[in-house]
Amino acid sequence: MTRVSATRVSDVPRVVGSHRWNAGRIARIVVMVVIAAAFLLPIIGFIALAFGSQENIESGASGFLNLGGMSWENIVYSWNQITGFGPGNGGLFQQWMINSAIVSVGGAALALVAAIPAGYAFARLRFRFRKAFLIATLLAMVMPNTVLVIPIFLEVNAINAVGQLWPVAVIMGFYPFGVYLSYIHFMTTMPHELVEAARIDGLSELRTFFEIALPISKQAIALVAFFSFVANWTNFFLPLALLTSSQQNKTISIGIQELIGASPLFNATVAAGLDVKLYLPQLALATVISMVPLLAMFIGAQRFLVRGQTIGAVKG
């Protein structure tokens, strides 16, 4: 660190930050590191908890942040408890993960099909109500989606589709932030002249989109897919309202709520009737496993995200 700043001082005049080890700089670095520790230690402790056992934790044998109590046997035991949850031989946990994958991927696919052409139309085509529709989209983007859950429940209830997965995926496909990302993408990467040139060449509006705009929108596709997948996977209230009535059709986020409710820590009577015992290590493991698809998506999309932070500086 010191070496890097030292070489830079001699080469380029720097305008932000100071280069000498004065009291201010030391204070700043200490504060930042302490805050970083406060952010990271709970997460490290939580992951260690997923590798721990209830007996060790209760007896205080696991040491600082449970780091001393980690073992592979604990994971295997906890995994058996989690997957044993459910009627008969269990298996609800796996079913919930599959359901989450179905609605999250389905929702993200719909979001892509809707957002990329819509973003292009908003950015590069002129039509009536364009501005009004764009403002409605921005409003939908900044409004918290929980507000609409009860009205959506009433609508889905009216068509007798409560408890089914497909309405959840369809609703998740409505992703105005994706439209905004795609809009910004076409505004910044596709100049008007390119559209004009395509028209002069006699391309129809649709062919211009499919043959010129779409091939240069890899970045936007990756970002919309990533952000909508993450939003769908972590969505709680919508699946709670639409899927609670069907145990088999729950998603993992409301499934974990079910596991919490079946823990002897919080509901001794329910837990007493179960073959499996779900204490904090088991709940932590279920949670960590439920995060794996998000982590995989994050790693897969990482090179797009670095630049995406600059296009989507306004978060959804």
């Binding site: 700043r28 719909l110 609409l148 709520q257």
Partner: protein, 340 residues
């Protein structure tokens, strides 16, 4: 009426007349315009359908339902009830307490949140190079724990016996979950949860605003003898005001829709906090416990109007969504345009 219709017809007829008599260029332009409109709506079709299904129709339907009379034992038929359901909701003994709960939380959480976002974004901006980048990444990590994952992490942290911060809970005299999660502690626990989960993304957003400040501005301030503190307070902070305002308003709107955290805290508190702590929970109770759909719809409409109001301010006044929507340009935007 007739005049109006005639005017309408004249308006629609006009383009075809000009096309008949106009030059080739004009004919070509009007053909292009029509083709462009058609193309735009074809491209917008999937999104428009989803917009209708997931936003417009539910809102309209909720509005219709909210005007119905809730079926009761005495009168099991429902029909038009006017504003009866709105009166039921506002008159409910839990209605005002849910809003008081939310306002109490906001009074504690929002200042801490905004202060934290601004302070950490400024600290990162004052730390160029790899150290600042690494810190920004670390601050972002908790934000990756969305929804229920953040909650289960907090189930571990508020465990009064085994948590790494158990000393805090024991200091408060609590030895069970029920004793930690009390009505009085709710705003503080929720503040901690929302801060931990939300701050990372907002640091990135405000940091984006800071990175937009041109080097010349900072250079000039430094030549004038500003130290790091003065630079942050007098130069950077005024320039990132639109981003900070945006963060404040978005978090404000977010507060009104809070559901998951109070709902699940209730679940692990063995009933020491009420099931209708937040307005959304009250809506959930109307819909799923009382099966009073008109009241649930009416409450949704009330929440919708509040968040829509905040949303309108964000979209039209924050200056972050470009000239098309903004009614005024911010200093940051003018600067952006100059540099572009």
């Amino acid at each position: 009426m007739t005049n109006h219709l005639l005017e309408e017809r004249a308006k629609t007829a006009a383009p075809s007349d000009t096309r008949g008599a106009g030059t080739t260029a004009r004919r070509r332009r009007s053909w292009l315009r029509r083709d462009e409109t058609l193309g735009a709506w074809v491209l917008l079709a999937p999104y428009t359908v989803l917009f209708l299904v997931a936003a417009a129709i539910p809102i309209g339907y909720a509005f219709v339902i909210s005007l119905q009379r809730a079926p009761s034992l005495v009168n099991p038929t429902s029909g038009f009830g006017g504003l009866e359901s709105f009166a039921t909701v506002v008159g409910d003994y839990r209605f005002w307490s849910t809003f008081i709960n939310i306002f109490t939380l906001m009074a504690i959480w929002l200042p801490i949140m905004i202060l934290g976002i601004v302070a950490l974004a400024l600290l990162i901006h004052a730390s160029p190079g790899r150290f600042g980048g690494a810190m920004r990444f670390v601050y972002y990590i908790p934000g990756a724990l969305g929804g229920i994952a953040n909650f289960v992490l907090w189930v571990y942290l508020i465990d009064p016996v085994n948590s790494p911060i158990a000393f805090l809970w024991q200091g408060l005299g609590a030895s069970t979950y029920k004793e930690v999660i009390t009505p009085g502690n709710m705003p503080f626990i929720l503040t901690a949860m929302l801060f931990f989960q939300g701050i990372g993304t907002w640091i990135v957003v405000v940091n984006g605003g800071l990175n937009g400040i041109s080097d010349e501005v900072l250079e000039a301030a430094r030549i004038d003898g500003a130290n790091a503190w003065q630079l942050a307070w007098h130069v950077k902070l005024p320039l990132i005001r639109p981003w900070v305002g945006y963060a404040a308003l978005m978090n404000l709107a977010y507060g009104f829709q809070l559901f998951l955290e109070p709902y699940l805290l209730r679940q692990i508190s063995s009933g020491s906090v009420v099931a209708e702590w937040a307005p959304t929970q009250l809506g959930y109770a109307f819909a799923f416990t009382n099966r009073n759909f008109p009241a649930a719809a009416a409450l949704s409409i009330i929440l919708l109007l509040i968040t829509l109001g905040i949303g309108l301010i964000i979209v039209t006044r924050s200056g972050l969504f470009g000239d098309e929507t903004s009614t005024r340009t911010t200093r940051a935007q003018r600067k952006e345009r100059r540099t572009a």
